[in-house]
């Protein structure tokens, strides 16, 4: 909202000049401090000098040029006559104009000099509104009123030196979309008198109706609860808008259109009430406010023919729709340069109805912005009365006395609030006098609830109940110590503040006007928290483990597409193809939410490679989104006047997709960097599986790595990571390995790129179920070490051999196999085609003695025997 200071000062009696930078800055701070955030303070008119009021003495038409040019003789009553070249044609001898003399400065640092042009010397320039930054009009020069004093400095004459505040008005503060609202706030802040512009220039009985005025009725009172029509007859449509009004409109960012339209816009800016001017001659029969009928159309002022929705709120006459109520007028009844009789409409429309309509037609206007945020329902009579009075006075017409009105009386909002509620909310003592004073300043009527001092059981909402119990007064000596803690106030909100509905709204008025800066800070009290959950700690641990292992965390785009699923080679029925679809995605190419982290992290990898990095290992922790099968299509909108029931909460939950947290890693180039120590080691499937192991180890769960085939991995280099419990339960946590070459090609990644992806929700659920750690007994008798080499067929997984060795050793009696590690892997001539040799170190210990060589051999043999039984292993050289 852009408003010039001069306009605000007309109603708030503050003594400050636009040249007083400190004074202006103080006002700007005050506006921001009371909740009207000033985004910019723009001095205007300060950059204009040397422009004077001049009279055109005569005009000579020059011919022979590409366009008609005038050579004018002008006077500024200083005894000199000057000659000026001018391309405009909208003036005549005798007109007064704004003349920039040689040496004048115009906005934007544009200097005027005497110059030779079109074969003549031009001693200055006759200015258009645009050139003086007081309007957009550049179709001709600005013709000034005949009484403009010759030779006067134009800046002084027109009051151009001003300051424009650009205020960011939050959606709750509809009242501040007007001079009326902002000036009131300034006056309160500065504690100076305020004149309400809605009380100015009204006829004696502003609400009197008259059959002389064009008739109006309301068909749907949910769309509109009040509408007023008034008439002015016999105005001269050619009357120019007064310069001062034009300047104010321009400063507020409004284009000057015609006198009738300018008057309605001017009053909308001043009062906050949108007004519409109809050409009376183009109305057919009584005006009716109603919803649209199927198939109706309306061409609005922006020359768009709109097909109307049955919910649209319309102003109509017998010809059909003539205006989108509170949003935009129609072309057919627009005032034009031949409109002598004008009907002014002012109404109070449903905020929600206007909001829906303007959204539906993607048509936001100054009017709809105000109606959406709430307009004073008492304004239609006043604003329309001021409009007709002003239009008649300026345009030479006659006001038809009285008005035509439809609608009902609107009951004011009454709120019961405990007198000490603002104090209790703010945490400091304002006292009854201050609370009442502040509420009255914003326009509330404040009364004491009868009997409230004795009986507090009025139950009127927050702050109105009994003072908080439980010895609070003793624990917080600065709270609740109010001069009238037992009193309830009955507050009537002013009609211009439809945002005031609850005690909390009233408390906010008191607190903001008393100043947020005065609220003390109370030291934080310790509260009883339990710290991070196991899941939260696990997430941090595995993130640190991956980073410590050389992975860089990235946060990738969560949006995806069917094309990504194709690139991943996912088969038709794959669960990962079932994705949440967005109604209005950021990009139409990516309308889905991710079901796997892989495409996003692949693209981030490619971006890093594109920036010249070759050895890149990345990881991401993030949610994926999997619609539940059989989920209801709609998450219901529950009531808000009570807590939802368990069933209602369950209905919301049923509609939402599953959103498990995943972790993914991808790696390419060297996993171990090359350097003076030698060549690097390329990252491969082992690293992907190791990254998965790292995550699982952080969880201290028992897990196994198994060969699997799963897109998008290489069918021979893909491992499933399976969590197992001692009870034999198993959960698939995810997959790891080298990517399929087709996937690598589809994402443009280097050959042999490897990746892993795990479902952390599975891991954390299993970890929650696992219970506390049971550490081993720390036996201190000596360790006995045995090495065995086993030959098995190539296809036998090492994990199976290890499992069998451990099982065999465990069955060998009172000896514990403390650890088992692979120290050599050999394939080649000595073990034969299709076989491999796995060499393990076994470490045994007993709880209560030093093991004998015999016991150790026995345990080793038992382990080998079990491996032979389970996997066909043959001990090499044994």
């Amino acid at each position: 909202m852009r408003l010039p200071l001069s306009w605000l000062l007309e109603y708030a009696a503050i003594d400050v000049s636009p040249d007083d930078a400190d004074g202006v800055a103080d006002l700007s701070r005050r506006l921001t401090a009371c909740g009207l955030e000033v985004e910019s303070v723009e001095p205007v008119g300060h950059d204009i000098s040397g422009v004077v009021v001049a009279e055109v003495l005569d005009v000579a038409e020059l011919t022979g040029f590409s366009k008609p040019i005038r050579y004018c003789r002008v006077s500024i009553a200083d005894g000199q006559q000057r000659h000026v070249i001018c391309g405009a044609r909208n003036f005549a001898a005798g007109d007064r104009v704004a003349l920039a003399l040689p040496g004048a400065m115009l906005p934007g640092g544009f200097e005027i000099g005497a110059r030779k042009t079109y074969g003549r010397v031009s001693e200055g320039m006759i200015c258009s509104a645009l050139e003086l930054a007081v309007g957009e009009d550049h179709s001709g020069i600005m013709v000034l009123p005949a009484d403009a004093p010759l030779g006067a400095d134009f800046v002084t004459y027109a009051g151009l030196r001003d300051v424009v505040f650009d205020i960011n008005v939050t959606p709750d503060k509809g009242f501040a979309l007007s001079v009326r609202g902002v000036a009131r706030e300034l006056a309160i802040s500065c504690q100076v008198p305020f004149t309400d512009p809605a009380d100015v220039g009204l006829p004696a009985d502003a609400t009197a109706t008259s059959p002389e005025v064009h008739p109006v009725s309301i068909e749907d009172t949910t769309a509109c609860d009040r509408i007023v029509l008034r008439e002015v007859r016999g105005i001269d449509p050619a009357t120019p808008t007064p310069l001062a009004m034009k300047i104010r409109l321009a400063r507020a960012g409004q284009r000057s259109v015609s006198l009738a339209v300018d008057v309605t816009n001017y009053l909308m800016l001043e009062l906050g009430q949108p007004l519409h001017a109809f050409d009376r001659a183009r109305l057919h029969g009584p005006v009716v406010v109603r919803r649209a009928q199927p198939g109706e159309k309306l061409e609005t002022l922006d020359h768009v023919v709109r097909t109307l929705d049955p919910e649209d709120i319309l102003i109509t006459d017998e010809s059909g729709p003539i205006s989108l109520a509170g949003t935009m007028g129609g072309v057919a009844t627009e005032v034009s340069d031949s409109s002598h009789d004008v009907v002014i409409e002012a109404a109070h429309f449903s905020a929600r109805g206007i909001a829906r309509m303007s959204r539906r037609h993607k048509l936001g206007s100054e009017a709809s912005a105000r109606f959406e945020r709430g307009v004073d329902p008492q304004l239609p009579h006043r604003a329309s009365a001021r409009a007709t009075t002003m239009l008649a006075a300026l345009g030479g017409g006659t006001v038809v006395p009285g008005c035509s009105f439809a609608g009902a009386e609107i009951e004011p909002v009454r709120i019961a609030m405990a007198a000490d509620y603002p104090d209790r909310l703010a945490g400091l003592v304002y006292g009854l006098e201050t609370v009442q004073k502040r509420l009255r300043e914003v326009g509330c009527a404040v009364a004491h609830m009868p009997g409230s001092a004795a009986d507090r059981s009025d139950g009127a909402g927050a702050g109105s109940g009994a003072a908080a119990g439980g010895g609070e007064g003793a624990a917080r000596p600065d709270h609740g110590r109010h001069d009238r803690p037992d009193l309830t106030l009955l507050v009537t909100a002013p009609s211009w503040r439809p945002d005031l509905t609850d005690p909390a709204d009233l408390a906010e008025e008191v607190i903001r006007l008393e100043g947020y800066q005065n609220i003390p800070a109370r030291a934080v009290r310790a509260v009883g928290g339990r710290g991070l959950t196991g899941r939260q700690r696990l997430r941090r641990s595995l993130s640190r483990a991956l980073a410590a292992d050389g992975y860089v965390e990235v946060i990738c785009s969560p949006f995806t597409s069917v094309l990504d699923f194709d690139r991943l080679q996912l088969p038709a029925g794959d669960q990962r193809r079932q994705a949440v679809r967005l109604a209005n995605p950021l990009s139409d190419d990516e309308p889905l939410m991710r079901t796997t982290l892989l495409p996003g992290i692949f693209r981030t990898l490619a971006r890093n490679l594109g920036r010249g990095f070759t050895d890149v290992s990345l990881y991401e922790l993030g949610m994926v989104f999997r619609p539940k099968s059989g989920a209801p299509p709609l998450a219901p909108i529950l009531p808000v006047d009570r807590a939802p029931t368990e069933q209602e909460v369950a209905r919301l939950g049923a509609a939402l997709p599953d959103q498990p947290l995943h972790v993914a890693a991808v790696m390419t180039g060297n996993a171990e960097p090359a350097g003076y120590w030698g060549a690097g080691r390329p990252a491969g499937w082992q690293d992907a599986i190791e990254a998965a192991r790292l995550v699982l180890r952080s969880s201290r769960l028992t897990f196994s790595v198994r060969a699997d085939q799963h897109q998008p991995w290489h069918p021979g280099r893909c491992a499933a990571i399976v969590i197992g419990t001692e009870q034999g339960q198993e959960w698939l946590a995810g997959h790891a390995g080298e990517l399929h070459p087709r996937v690598i090609a589809a994402f443009g990644l280097p050959a042999r790129t490897s990746a892993m992806e795990l479902d952390l929700s599975v891991i954390t659920a299993a970890a929650d179920a696992a219970g506390p750690v049971q550490p081993p007994s720390l036996w201190s008798y000596p360790l006995a070490v045995q090495d065995v080499a086993l030959v098995v067929p190539q296809a036998v997984p090492a994990a199976d051999v290890e499992r069998a060795l451990a099982a065999g050793a465990a069955a060998a009696g009172d000896v514990r196999l403390e650890s088992l590690s692979l120290f050599d892997l050999y394939t080649g001539g000595q073990v034969g085609e299709g076989f491999k040799s796995l060499a393990y170190t076994l470490r045994f210990r007993a709880p209560d003695r030093t093991l004998t060589a015999e016991e150790v051999r026995g345990a080793r043999d038992a382990a080998v025997a079990e491996a032979a039984r389970q996997t066909g292993a043959v001990q090499r050289g044994g």
């Binding site: 509260v527 860089v552 109604a583 909460v649 290489h714 069918p715």
Partner: protein, 375 residues
């Protein structure tokens, strides 16, 4: 030799004889058939269908023939080249299928082999993660617990329960990304959460009172990406609901938080703002932690971090609107609450002097690496 000759040249035209073309075609087909893998096929393609391949050169000679002979020769060369092209396409497909069928099987390894990496690269965590954890830990140290919620959220949690009335401009300001309904044009009642505030509702509905929670998480808005806005970003919010909480408690929590994150002795400032779920509402600024406000004083050195304003806008806050408490079944006459929330990316930008939010999004390893393991 590639320029068309007007004169008939019997030597050169010999390459266009039927026998010669048949031989070239046979050579090409044999080479293609003999290619045992995709690399060999690439070599064969170059030799028999590349720029210097015999059939390509023969094609260029057609122009040298007498006009009467051109059509016939052109047809024969065309047929031979088409046959070679078809054979290449077929062999390519065969070899790819072969690779998928055999080579990928041959390449099978024992994925269960243990593996230890002796040395590793320079890993790092993302500053949005580590700064988010630090922010959360400040509250956890005050006794708050971390609460989490879904990113695809029901509208009721994201808006209605937070006192955003339907069709109110406040709802429109959030630039919401909606989940599509079952049929085009239908509603789903679900959105990508526009803030972490729905977690407040979930916490109030499920946790016992008094309640002190902090909720970090990812949020979405259909904002255009620029230096200070990202459609996907992270927020962290704290919520306290207890008996007798006041704005003074809110200020205390904010001050403690600013001290922990940005340094001791920094002033904070509240100014009125509007959020439907708090009343009163305020935006929080803190004194610039770099210049401590000096840049805004007369004669002060310019400050890049606060753009010489002396203050940095940090967060939004307020007292929980009693309507929100009611929607969560909490008695507003007994309990009051406060909430405040801020953008994690914004905190990273402010705390570490990052000029462009896009640096936090692109996943460039240099950015995360600069932060190491903890921010």
């Amino acid at each position: 030799m590639s320029a068309p000759n007007k004169a008939y040249d019997p030597v050169e035209a010999a390459t266009l004889s039927a026998g010669e073309l048949q031989r070239m075609q046979a050579d090409a087909l044999a080479a293609i058939a003999a290619a045992a893998n995709l690399d060999e096929l690439k070599t064969a393609r170059l030799a028999h269908a590349g720029d210097r391949a015999p059939l390509t050169l023969a094609n260029a000679e057609i122009g040298a023939l007498p006009p009467a002979a051109r059509a016939d020769a052109g047809k024969r060369v065309g047929t031979a080249r088409a046959a070679v092209r078809a054979a290449l396409v077929q062999r390519q497909a065969d070899l790819e299928a072969e690779r998928d069928r055999r080579v990928l099987v041959d390449e099978a390894v024992d994925v269960t082999l243990p593996w230890d990496r002796p040395m590793s690269l320079d890993g790092a965590r993302h500053p949005v993660t580590t700064v988010g954890e630090r922010l959360a830990d400040v509250f956890v140290s005050m006794g708050y617990e971390i609460a989490e919620g879904p990113e695809v959220e029901a509208e009721w949690y994201n808006f209605d329960a937070l006192n955003f009335p339907p069709d109110h401009p406040a709802r429109e300001m959030q630039d919401t990304i909606f989940v599509a309904g079952a049929e085009p044009g239908e509603r789903s009642g679900m959105v990508l959460r526009t803030h972490t505030s729905p977690v407040q509702i979930r916490a109030m509905l499920t946790r016992p009172l008094p309640l002190y929670v902090v909720s970090p998480g990812k949020c979405y808005r259909s904002d255009a990406l620029d230096a200070t806005h990202s459609p996907v970003f992270h927020q962290i919010e704290c919520l306290a609901v207890d008996e007798g909480l006041t704005m003074a408690d809110l200020r205390g929590a904010i001050n403690a938080f600013v001290e922990a994150m940005f340094g001791e002795g920094l002033q904070t400032r509240l100014r009125p703002d509007f959020f439907p779920f708090t009343e009163p509402s305020a935006d929080v600024s803190m004194q610039c932690h770099v210049c401590r406000g000096a840049s805004a004083q007369p004669g002060g050195q310019p400050c890049r971090v606060c753009r010489s304003q002396g203050w940095i806008e940090l967060a939004g806050c307020g007292m929980v609107n009693p309507r929100v408490l009611v929607a969560c079944g909490i008695d507003p006459d007994r309990y009051s609450g406060f909430a405040f929330g801020l953008g994690i990316e914004r905190s990273v930008l402010v705390r570490h002097g990052v000029a462009d939010i896009r640096d936090t999004l692109e996943g460039d390893v240099r950015f995360s690496r600069a932060f190491g393991m903890e921010a």
